[in-house]
Amino acid sequence: MQLLDAIPMLETDDVEGTADFYVEKLGFKQHGRFPGTGAMTWASLKRDRAQIMFSAREGGARRAPMWTGAIYCHALDVGRLWEELRAEVEVERELNTNPRGTLEFTIRDCNGYRLRFGESE
């Protein structure tokens, strides 16, 4: 079995707001939406080779957005990306060099999902 790609599909209470956050603050582009018109229940966001999908949270029983994991984006110039994003978003971990020698930083999106950006090898 050949797998072509793996993309996270995360739940959110506010698909529109999340799409706006990714587009305005993180420089993503809206790559897809459902339904075609009216209130969005699903959105696909893309920046270069990073892609994330968001779907509307089904009411009630499910818990608030939470993930024991993160999206890790490899940026070509993480220092510049840090300067670009630092004032716009909630920073969890500032730009630092991890034990393996990679420059990286961690932020939280508007739902609290964790995004890590590291220098591409």
């Binding site: 050949q2 797998l3 993309i7 599909m9 699903w42 080779r49 990073a50």
Partner: protein, 255 residues
């Protein structure tokens, strides 16, 4: 600023068990592992520095230990990881007997054919493929593929338990497919609009009540109420769900 690549970092209970599951069961490739040299696993306590990479197409999954330790926390994700196999039907055939299926393969109205799996840590995986062809299917095969198979002489598989063609009742996907292929032989009943009794026309107005299912010919009553066959019953929970009303302005009511 270019984002050259994306990985998904998943905190897992046991890294080795996760590698085993993803490589052996799902067909991922192990591309990196902390504490290994060549093929040799070095035996040392790695703690939080422990990690592994498995790859699927353009994206890798990275396994790291649970932040709070496996005793204190459990893997959670309000969402799923969407995997795109080259051929979702083939992936289903290969996998469904070896994994915990959360929902079997089906085509959704939004044009994706998908099935769901819960992985060894409890994360939800969805295997999906966009289908331009939303035509009816028998089992996992669309009609065009079914016809192809029939032409090439391959065995045509039916969903388990389907008695199609042996004089037994036809299962739903088969009925759908058959009605598509042989519309005259298997007339498919369209879903009927639900008519509430209160929407029945008032007596004396020029309306016609078309009763369906139980009285196929269509019955019109002078009082504008449903015919006996369409009266709401306990089984329809008080709604005349088998009766549709169609108003024809100017037409005459007839007994």
């Amino acid at each position: 600023m270019t984002l050259a690549r994306m990985d998904l970092v998943l905190e897992v209970r046991e890294i080795d068990a996760s590698i085993e599951y993803y490589t052996r069961t799902l067909g991922f490739e192990l591309t990196g592992r902390a504490g290994t040299e060549g093929e040799q696993r070095l035996d040392r306590g790695l703690g939080a520095d422990d990690w592994a990479h498995v790859e699927a197409g353009a994206t890798s999954l990275v396994f790291v230990p649970l932040e709070g330790g496996a005793e204190n926390s459990v893997p959670v994700m309000t969402g799923s990881i969407y995997l795109y196999p080259e051929d979702v039907d083939k992936a289903w055939d290969e996998l469904h007997e070896h994994v915990e299926v959360t929902w079997p393969i089906r085509t959704w109205p939004y044009g994706m054919r998908e099935f769901g799996v819960r992985d060894v840590n409890g994360y939800w995986l969805v295997f999906g493929q966009a289908v331009d062809d939303l035509s009816p299917r028998v089992g996992t095969l669309s009609l065009p593929r079914l016809v192809d198979r029939a032409k090439t002489g391959d065995e045509v598989r039916k969903p388990p338990g389907c008695g199609a063609g042996r004089g037994r009742s036809v299962c739903r996907p088969c009925r759908w497919a058959w009605s598509f292929a042989f519309p005259m032989a298997l007339r498919r009943r369209k879903p009927l609009p639900v008519a509430n009794v209160s929407t029945a026309p008032t007596p004396g107005t020029s309306s016609r009540i078309r009763c369906v299912r139980r009285c196929w010919s269509g019955t019109v009553t002078p009082s504008g109420t449903c015919c006996a066959g369409c009266l709401p019953s306990a089984s329809t929970r008080g709604r005349a769900s088998i009766c549709t009303t169609v108003a024809f302005p100017g037409s005459r009511s007839r007994a």
